[in-house]
């Protein structure tokens, strides 16, 4: 695909963007919290629910076989999207958080013992901190942290010194939800692998915005969520290297994950089945497959180019406002702009923007250690997607100027 995005045409796929919200044009700058679903995704789920639904992996009915086929096709679409070697290495979860908990419990627990260390980056979302803290507390292990500099870039030189012979796992976000920083996952993975440490990557903010090639990155696990990538909530995926998935014990037990059950012994399905107990979110999974089709139809090169253009435009416009400071100035940055304004709390900014029909996130972004690192309680964050326009950015800037006017 070449040429710029036809954003006007794309926006027609999102009724929420074209329907007035409380009498105002809705300016949605909160895709890092949750993306919006385009019409083809919603329609695909509706068609499934109305005409194709039954349980999957059950029975001999044609209806069930076809539902299973659609469900497994979505797995293949996601495999292709992230260039995993095999669709079997894509495990369905409720989202990134559940995927990371699965890794902590099933992969982490047998490996981590008293005195061991888990190394995490300073810019992790709580979803890639708390599961490891739970494990560390249970096992008597400790968490160590890869520091970042004032621009919001990880200090790579610190990593070799932080990896010891007690380091069992390195956890890393691909793209920081709070700062927008795109981390050099491939380079960090190579550093960790040189010392025999497996790498778990939170890809929730990366998958919607850039082309992810898991065979190139070479990380051991990679987790992401449907609702951040134009798909529905309640579905996400965990990629794992085959040798790990093979060796890991099941995490939850139940139907769907077994080959046979007797009172004496239960034999589990091979992966991914052994990690997918119970009836899955079938409509959401098929919807996620449709969102992959949609994003690939637009093209990741064009998505990235469009979002980068908006990022540059918005950064320049916001930085021109006296008293406004942007946190996160990484050289490689996704279209996430976190900012603070002198003497004005982000929640007050958020409320005034809300009144203008502008949806942003005001808060700690589930990344309190990042806020602490920069010495702020919270920030206001605008996150841009392929359906946003310069007009949206202009509306943001005008509303921020209004905040300044009100607060004097």
């Amino acid at each position: 695909m070449t040429g710029p995005l036809d954003v006007a045409r794309i926006r027609e796929d999102f009724p929420i963007l074209t329907t007035p919200f409380k009498g105002k044009r809705l300016v949605y700058l909160d895709s890092a919290v949750s993306g919006q679903m385009p019409r083809p995704v919603v329609e695909r789920m509706g068609r499934y629910a109305q005409l194709e639904h039954t349980n999957v992996h059950r029975g001999v009915s044609t209806l069930s076989q076809e539902a299973t086929d659609r469900f497994e096709e979505a797995r293949e679409k996601v495999r292709r999207l992230v260039n995993a070697p095999s669709a079997r290495q894509i495990v369905w979860t409720r989202g990134t958080t559940e995927a990371l908990n699965l890794v902590a419990q099933s992969f982490g627990r047998p490996r981590v013992h008293a005195g061991d260390e888990i190394l995490l980056s300073a810019m992790e979302h709580h979803a890639n901190i708390v599961p490891w803290q739970l494990l560390a507390q249970e096992r008597g292990a400790r968490i160590r942290v890869i520091p970042m500099d004032d621009d919001g870039e990880l200090i790579l030189d610190a990593i070799p010194g932080l990896i010891t012979d007690r380091t069992r796992i390195l956890g890393l976000t691909h793209v920081s939800n709070a700062l927008g920083t795109v981390n050099p996952v491939k380079e960090i993975t190579a550093l960790a692998h040189a010392r025999g440490v497996p790498v778990v990557v939170d890809g929730a903010q990366a998958v919607p915005h850039l082309k992810v090639d898991l065979q190139d990155l070479d990380c051991d696990f990679y987790a992401f969520s449907g609702h951040k990538m134009s798909g529905p909530t309640g579905i996400g995926a965990l990629f794992g290297k085959a040798e790990h998935l093979e060796a890991m014990p099941p995490w939850q037990g139940g139907g769907n994950m077994i080959l046979s059950v007797t009172w004496e012994k239960t034999t589990y399905m091979p992966f991914p089945g052994k990690f997918e107990a119970g009836t899955p979110a079938i409509a959401a999974t098929i919807g996620l497959g449709a969102s992959v089709d949609y994003l690939e139809g637009i093209g990741f090169d064009r998505i990235a180019a469009h979002e980068h253009g908006l990022l540059v435009y918005a950064t320049e416009a916001l930085e021109a406002i006296p008293g406004l400071r942007i946190l996160g100035k990484a050289r490689e940055k996704a279209a996430v702009i976190s900012f603070v304004m002198e003497g004005i709390h982000p929640h007050d900014i958020g409320s005034i923007l809300d009144h203008e029909g502008i949806v942003v996130r005001a808060g700690h972004h589930c990344a309190q250690p990042v806020m602490e690192r920069f010495g702020v309680p919270a920030t206001t964050r605008a996150s841009l997607a392929y359906f946003n326009t310069e007009e949206d950015v202009d509306a943001l800037v005008a509303a921020v100027l209004k905040v300044k006017e009100i607060f004097g």
Partner: protein, 149 residues
Amino acid sequence: MTDPRELYQQVILEHNKKPRNFGRLEPCTHRADGHNPLCGDRLELTLWVKDGVVEDVKFQGQGCAIDVASASLMTTAIKGKPLAEVERLGEQFRAMVRGELDPGRQPHDLGKLSMFQGVKDLPVRVKCAVLPWATLHSALQGEAIASTE
């Protein structure tokens, strides 16, 4: 939706900029920490209560303008008041920001505190306005921590 200008009135903005009774009483007879887990607002309230009267009160912490101005105005409103009156003010304040008491139509003792009535139209901000009062309640009940969750 109320225009934010109706909420962010001069008095609120001014108390946010220059909060009254800011700091910490040492020693104190009552204290509590309040926090709003949703947004990370925190405040510490310390009181000196003698013979059932709030003789002195101070707060410190960080929060949005609504939170800080509410805390500041609360301290000025309760200083020198008997506990029964303080408790009644708290009840009226909560009722007002929840839309259950209209200070324009119903009797109340809220005085300047009534300027927070606009918060009722911003449901996500009600907790910010109420946090100082929830913390006060905890302090007087002898609980160390208050949360608006």
